[in-house]
Symmetry: C2
Subunit: 132 residues, 2 copies
C-alpha cells in the first residue's frame, strides 16, 4: 500500500486517510493531489480523517501543507470527520491547524466548499480559473 | 487500524478500501455497513477498490456478501474504481463477482445508483422504504 486513493466527486476531490501516515506516504499524497487538482481542474479538496485516532504535529503539518499547495492551485481544502477526542487533544497540544478549514462530516464539508465556490463565482472576474 | 470508515453522501454510503482485507476487518466492515444502512436509511453503497492491486476469491466473496446484506436492507451496492489489470485477472481466474454491480469510478457509480433509485421510486408503491 503506497498510495492513498483520490476520488473525484464533481468539482471536488475526496481523500480518506485510513493508514498511519509516514513521510513517504505524506509526500506522495501531496504530489498526487497537486497533480489531480491540475488535471481535473478541481476547486476543492475534502480530507476525511474520521479513522485517525491521533493527529500529531507531523499530520498537522501534512494537512497544512496540502491546504497551502491546494490554495496555490486555486482549490480550497476542508478537513472533515475529526473525532471529538482528537479535537480536544489538538487544542491541549496547542496545535490549531493554521490555514485548514474543518467540517463535521463530508456532507457539511461539501456544503462549505459549494458555498465558497458560489460566492467566489459571483464576486470574481474569473481570471485565475480559466488559465490552463 | 481496525475499522474502515464509512462516509455518508446524501442517500448513499461510500467506503474506500485501502488496506489488505483480513477476516476480522471484512466482518467488521460488513457489520458496520449493515448498521449504517439501517441507521441512515441509505439506499445505496459505493465501494471504491481503486487502490487494490489484487482481488482474490476472498475479497470477491466479501464484496458479494456485502452486496447481499445490503440488498436485504433495501440498498444497492456498486463496486467502483477497479483497476484494468484486476478486471483481467478476475476474468482469467473465473471470478465474475456474482450479484455485484460495477462502475468505472465513484461519479459513474453514483449516477447508476441515482438512476436505479429514480426508476424504483417511479415504479413502486414505496411500502418498504417507509418502514422504520
Amino acid at each position: 500500500m503506497d498510495r492513498i486513493p483520490i476520488l473525484k466527486m464533481g468539482p471536488f476531490l475526496l481523500v480518506t486517510i485510513q493508514v498511519d501516515m509516514h513521510d513517504r506516504l505524506a509526500l506522495s499524497l501531496q504530489d498526487d493531489l497537486a497533480e489531480r487538482i491540475a488535471s481535473t481542474e478541481a476547486r476543492g479538496v475534502l480530507i476525511d480523517i474520521s479513522s485517525l485516532e491521533i493527529v500529531d504535529s507531523f499530520i498537522g503539518r501534512v494537512l497544512a501543507n496540502i491546504a497551502a499547495v491546494s490554495r496555490v492551485l486555486d482549490a480550497q481544502t476542508v478537513v472533515v470527520g475529526m473525532q471529538p477526542a482528537v479535537a480536544i487533544t489538538l487544542v491541549e497540544l496547542g496545535l490549531s491547524l493554521p490555514g485548514v478549514r474543518t467540517a463535521l462530516n463530508v456532507e457539511r464539508g461539501m456544503e462549505l466548499l459549494r458555498a465558497a465556490l458560489e460566492s467566489e463565482t459571483l464576486g470574481s472576474d474569473g481570471d485565475a480559473s480559466t488559465a490552463f
